[in-house]
Symmetry: C2
């Protein structure tokens, strides 16, 4: 396994260097924080793979283990809430490494004054999506901080799953020529949260795509080595996922603008606000890298499921340019797709 | 397994009912929140055991799975910091159910403006204690919230361990006549954090007992059924642990004041501030319930380890009074030891 060598931070860290919002964006600063501060310290073979879930060999099983904290604002938004997001997010992180989610833990940090009825609604959402996916919330913790020391509610979910795919999914198995599939329209979550946050004077039917991908992705697990890699493109959007592949494997990635499934309302918000839809977070979509000959069967399996009906091929792995993602635009030009640098929408998940 | 039936909250929750600081105290309100809101929703056989770690049968293994979020203030205190606390806390929750900690996940919630050097120190502490215990931090997540939306840094750690005890430790195995052992002086963590927080004009050498109990408790795992149950008495202190035993099993518990190991400085702070040392949090102590005939061997094993050198028997399980914990005081009277009601020291862990 290839592990990038990056200079580490240490004693030379100056007091004036501080955490910025963009350190949580899923973009360049997030990667810098992980590569320079966190990985050199915690570094081990499992963490260094930087997959969505750690894969642990626990004879005779392969287990997947994944954690995420959720700080989304507002805590209720069209299509979901922080509870649904927390449980689906962890389920999806397990599902994209080919694991069936079994048990989930849940850590609440609550701000003094949070209405119990609000917590009650959030817990209902969590339990509903856990039930639908067939996993259980088996461990929990509740901390309370004084008013003003947190923003209503933060939730950590950590999940344990059993890997069911015959061959392990990994960024290391991707080859030039492989096709890139997205399981539906992009940017819906970020756009819906943005609208909810701004109280925009526009009527919109836009809702977050927040959903458990387990049943959808499970349908591909019998395809074996044809499926190389899966990832749910959350913070940093599709651009972050594709750049991670290009960067870690030193391949190029070509995507084709006219094939990108984007809802008209999301497109409108992007034009209005100057957002790049490729940078927007998704919470119910997967990027699948598959062998060229398997594309038809993958698409037909995905389209049998309501969450996959807008699946499409959006690009492919190419040998060059090394480490870069580019898009063939509708104008016939090529545009480099980079990682987001700042964070246009902090606290999106 | 006995599961208490308690009325659940639901539709009747009124908007005016809100989260109070004491819901995070480990005392009465914490129990009410869990029993009335969380358990009825998430309820399943594993969660209902309410052990420090969920025990999952994963043939041929028994796994332990535990989560905790940490919000301690100040984030650096004599004897530790939030990072050391987060990793030891999860290690200890696994160790008290007889599990060897294997992998840990770590979720950071960072406030914009946190110095990177501060995060760096905290990560060093986490890695140090994980290494000492022989476990690895294999999965992580970092979220950033805007200045004022969190208090510096909150950490969630979730751990996965392999149960190594021959017979499973459980509150259900406790019998009248069993002896109650504490592995050292009580209240040190809460008292040290209290002093750090108040900037008291007293010189004190008091430090938090924050430590990994894995090596200490592992020495007892060969004793089999003689060890009934273990628990690390953190929030809510020894009073909370003993009340949970008495309440869930409907036994009485007698403790003897003169046998309680308490440092003079902790005693002094309790007298000055009106704290009950039995309500103070510990972060490097275990309560062990053991069969009467095994007490000598248990104490001799514990005392071989630096963290166990002040181990002592502090009481025993009695048939009556049902569900109550009482203390034989130095004055020859008996005093009921109840759960803490408010929270004298919020954000102690």
């Amino acid at each position: 396994m290839k592990v990038q060598s990056t200079p580490r931070w240490g004693a030379e860290l100056k007091e004036k260097e501080v955490i910025k919002l963009a350190h949580g964006s899923g973009g360049k600063l997030t990667r810098e924080l992980i590569d320079k501060l966190i990985r050199p310290k915690f570094g081990n073979r499992i963490l260094d793979r930087l997959e969505d879930a750690a894969v642990i060999f626990f004879p005779p099983h392969l287990l997947a283990f994944s954690t995420d904290s959720y700080v989304v604002r507002p805590i209720f938004f069209p299509g979901g809430d922080i509870g649904k997001l927390a449980v689906t997010g962890t389920i999806n992180d397990l599902a994209v490494v080919g694991a069936q989610p079994l048990v989930i833990s849940c850590g609440f940090i609550l701000e003094e004054g949070l209405p119990l009825a609000t917590l009650n609604r959030i817990i209902d959402s969590m339990q509903k999506v856990a039930c639908e996916t067939g996993c259980e919330i088996v461990a929990g913790d509740t901390k309370v901080v004084e008013k003003g020391a947190a923003d209503q509610i933060f939730i950590n979910t950590t999940g344990l799953g059993l890997i069911r795919t015959k061959s392990s999914l990994s960024i290391e198995r991707i080859k030039p020529g492989d096709q890139i599939i997205v399981t539906g329209t992009i940017g819906d979550h970020a756009a819906a949260v943005f609208v909810a946050r701004q109280n925009l004077p526009v009527k919109t039917s836009l809702i977050s795509d927040c959903a458990s991908l387990y049943r959808l992705l499970e349908s591909l697990w019998n395809l074996g080595e044809k499926i190389r890699f899966m990832r749910d493109p959350t913070r940093g959007g599709i651009a972050a996922t594709l750049n991670e592949i290009a960067n870690r494997r030193n391949f190029g990635i070509e995507i084709v603008e006219e094939t990108l499934p984007i809802q008209p309302e999301v497109k409108g918000i992007c034009e209005l606000m100057g957002f790049d839809p490729l940078h927007l977070a998704n919470e119910g979509k997967a990027i699948i890298v598959a062998s060229p000959e398997s594309v038809e069967i993958v698409l037909s399996l995905l389209k049998q499921h309501p969450l996959g009906k807008n699946s499409s091929v959006i690009g492919r792995i190419v040998e060059n340019p090394l480490g870069l993602v580019y898009m063939k635009t509708n104008l016939g030009t090529k545009r480099i797709i980079d990682l987001p640098v700042g964070d246009p929408l902090p606290r999106i998940c």
